[in-house]
């Protein structure tokens, strides 16, 4: 039997964006091939969220020799731990380069489900404060879309995947289609009104909005609060493409999913001026295979999608496919994050949490919403939480003997409350991805060369995150307030965006308002590469909404015989 190589649509990538492209395209009638560079994942045997520390040889401290050897970069991600490193790439097989003075962390997961298995699950809609920001302050280009273009698609996505949260009625952080919110801790409940009052209602601390089910939804079970979502979830209670969109695509009967398929280039036909298909390196056989389709959706993740376009060269596009603007690879962003403050909370010693809430609190953006801050443009949201130390505080706590032991078992320790900022980065032309001239990955694809740097606006915002959070903790009545600055290099937040931005005109970007390449009508890029600015919200829900919207546009255009 010969493998079928011609389809209506090809989707490159099976993660958050690729899964949505697969679901929407198949449900709208297209025979769709999803190509995934990594291998299959079987939740029954591969997910490890219920493995307890005593079942791990290093009790959760990690098999460091192995992790240092195989995951020297990936290990800096919190989720790349003793049992979770299997969901990250091996660095040697997947090289990338940076200038010596511009470190960048590129955390990747190549497997069916992509990084949707390990993602942070926080979901926040963008607003017109975000879509209009570039036009208003002149950094970057104007977005070709506004909130009203995306709002119905946010709803479409949220209703399907199930997200929990509390409605707040904030213009800068629109409410969504929420399942019941997870509870705040008693300490968070106490702090919220105090912070509201101290800052004239402008600083709103709400429970995190998360793609985690608080009740059974669409055939998936409610969260059972075991804790470490990033290791997988046997009940599919948080959203993964593997447990949600891909099964829906499969149910359509029109999905073919092909793991171990490293896409090396998108093939361009100069006579039709369309993408003809893709060249794949089968990672098992190392042989090239071509697949063809009427439409190609590039959902390989920001840097991978840009790298793939840069590597798709032809006489028509010597500098990379769909790059007549010369802007492919430019205006790359990530959130600068991690600066904030923590404080000790007096009292509440007779209260505790039970179960492990895989979610925290969120403080909606309050800077540059109503008035302009003197030191920086744009703004940040803050994420954090509260808790008691439990036995974990014992390693640095003085004492010994029966009382020390009893204290660690019974007392839980004082409450603490903390949060850190996730800040918007300005789009900058020199924050750029190119192809490394010599380094190639295991499959012969040129490595990305990533040159992205924090600049003055980000640094000024980082300072404000610390002082603003300290003020809020003070208002909440905390003591022993400590500010913390972040040294995280770009990429560390894993919110990389841009490089093939959407634009109003073909000269100012790579994609039009429907994520369609200006130069290649049947090529769509719907992952983070399409973003023209990065706002401060966690971006995945926006990728999902943009992908679903672009898929409908593509199918409608095919029906009109435009594609």
């Amino acid at each position: 039997m010969r493998e079928i190589t011609d389809f209506d649509a090809i989707v490159i990538g099976s993660g958050i964006s690729g899964g949505w492209a697969a679901k929407e395209l198949t449900e709208r009638g297209l025979k769709t091939l999803v190509l995934e560079a990594g291998g299959p994942v079987d939740p029954q045997t591969d997910y490890v969220e219920h493995v307890q520390p005593w079942q791990m040889p290093f009790r959760g401290m990690g098999d460091r020799k192995k992790i240092v050897a195989d995951y020297p970069i990936q290990r800096e991600c919190y989720a790349c731990d003793e049992v979770g490193h299997k969901f990250f790439v091996k660095d040697k097989e997947n090289p990338y380069t940076t200038p010596d003075d511009a470190p960048f962390r590129f955390f990747r997961g190549r497997q069916v489900g992509g990084r949707s298995i390990t993602w942070g699950r926080q979901v926040y809609r963008w607003s017109d404060l975000d879509f209009e920001a570039n036009a208003k302050d002149g950094h970057g280009n104007d977005w070709p879309i506004r909130y009203q273009d995306l709002a119905p698609w946010y709803s479409h996505v949220e209703r399907f995947i199930g997200i929990c949260g509390a409605k707040e009625g904030l213009s800068q952080l629109p409410d969504g289609e929420f399942l019941p919110a997870m509870p705040m801790t008693v300490v968070e409940q106490d702090a919220r009104p105090k912070i509201l009052k101290a800052f004239s209602g402008e600083r709103v601390m709400t429970i995190g909005r998360a793609a985690i089910l608080t009740k059974n939804h669409n055939g998936r079970l409610a969260c059972h609060y075991c804790g470490p979502c990033e290791r997988g979830c046997i009940t599919h209670s948080y959203f993964t493409s593997l447990g949600s969109t891909l099964p829906a695509a499969q149910a359509s009967g029109r999905l073919t999913l092909r793991p171990h398929s490293v896409v090396a280039e998108v093939l361009y036909d100069p006579t039709t001026t369309r993408a003809r298909g893709v060249r794949v390196v089968d990672s098992n056989t190392m042989q090239d295979i071509e697949f063809t389709a009427r439409v190609v959706f590039l959902c390989a993740s920001t840097i991978e999608s840009v790298r793939l376009l840069l590597n798709s060269r032809s006489s028509a596009f010597p500098e990379g496919l769909a790059n007549s603007s010369g802007l492919l690879g430019r205006y790359v962003m990530d959130h600068h994050y991690g600066s904030g403050a923590s404080g000790a909370v007096r009292g509440f010693t007779d209260r505790r949490t039970t179960g492990r809430r895989p979610n925290g609190i969120y403080i909606a953006r309050f800077r540059n919403v109503k008035s302009q801050h003197p030191d920086f443009l744009r703004g940040y949201g803050m994420q954090g939480g509260s808790g008691r130390g439990g036995w974990g505080r014992g390693g640095s706590m003085p004492g010994y003997g029966p009382a020390f032991k009893q204290s660690l078992i019974e007392d839980l320790g004082p409450w603490s409350l903390s949060a850190s900022g996730w800040g918007e980065t300005l789009p900058h032309a020199d924050n750029r991805i190119t192809l490394d001239p010599t380094v190639k990955d295991k499959w012969g694809v040129p490595a990305a060369h990533i040159d992205v740097r924090w600049r003055d606006n980000e640094k000024a915002m980082d300072k404000d995150m610390q002082t603003a959070m300290a003020e809020m903790l003070d208002a909440a009545g905390c003591s022993d307030i400590r500010q913390h600055g972040s040294n995280n290099p770009p990429g560390h937040c894993i919110h990389e965006m841009g490089g093939a931005r959407m634009s109003k005109t073909r000269e100012t970007g790579v994609l039009n308002g429907n994520n369609q390449a200006w130069d290649v009508m049947n090529l769509f890029v719907t992952d983070g590469a399409c973003m023209a600015s990065c706002a401060c919200q966690n971006p995945s829900i926006t990728y999902m909404a943009i992908t679903a919207r672009a898929a409908k546009y593509a199918v409608d255009a095919m029906k009109r015989n435009e594609l």
Binding site: R2, G60, L242, L255, T353, S396, L408, L412
Partner: protein, 215 residues
Amino acid sequence: MHVPKLLFEATLNPFPDTFRERNRRHMERRDMLKALGAAGALALVPGEAAAAWARVARGLRPIVGLTEAQLALVSAVADTIIPRTDTPGAVDVNVGAFVDIIVSENYGEAERTSFTAGLDAIDADAKANGGVGVVGLALSARGAVIERIEAASDRRTEPQRTYWRLKGLVVHGYFTSERVMKEVLKVQVIPGEYSGDAPHQPKSAPSGQGARSHA
């Protein structure tokens, strides 16, 4: 050209039935959670650590681990920090072997050398102050050694540096042991629900050694 075997069915094994059938099958949440508990223990076998644990299980030591004297020191300190009471002590759950494994298999060579030298510094400190090493001291005298080291505000010079690293390992090794997680902490792997405001009544702590730790 061959058709690769790893197409959809093999990949999405969690759904051997179709998605639609799965939607119809409303499994009782209770039953699901029960089943999960049974399936919770998954085999994880990094080679070197597994081999090291196997040696410990046979009464042998990791190849590049602590010396007998260092292990005795570690166990003596661990037993003083977390003694047996109505619940197991550090020695009962083999915290010494855990420290041995971490030092042997997890630490790099420079770290290991620095740690073992630090252990010797702890012992030298005891000898300088009481004439005997930690292992030879009575329980109360061991406590005095710990109090003296913990009273030093600089935790980055020896012997404090290694002492605090060791204390961290002792606490971690004790509370992540199977017996302590199951019998003492009674950790629920699958709580099933979450509360951010549940009652908590600590038992009154016994008086005696180390009571100042409540400060």
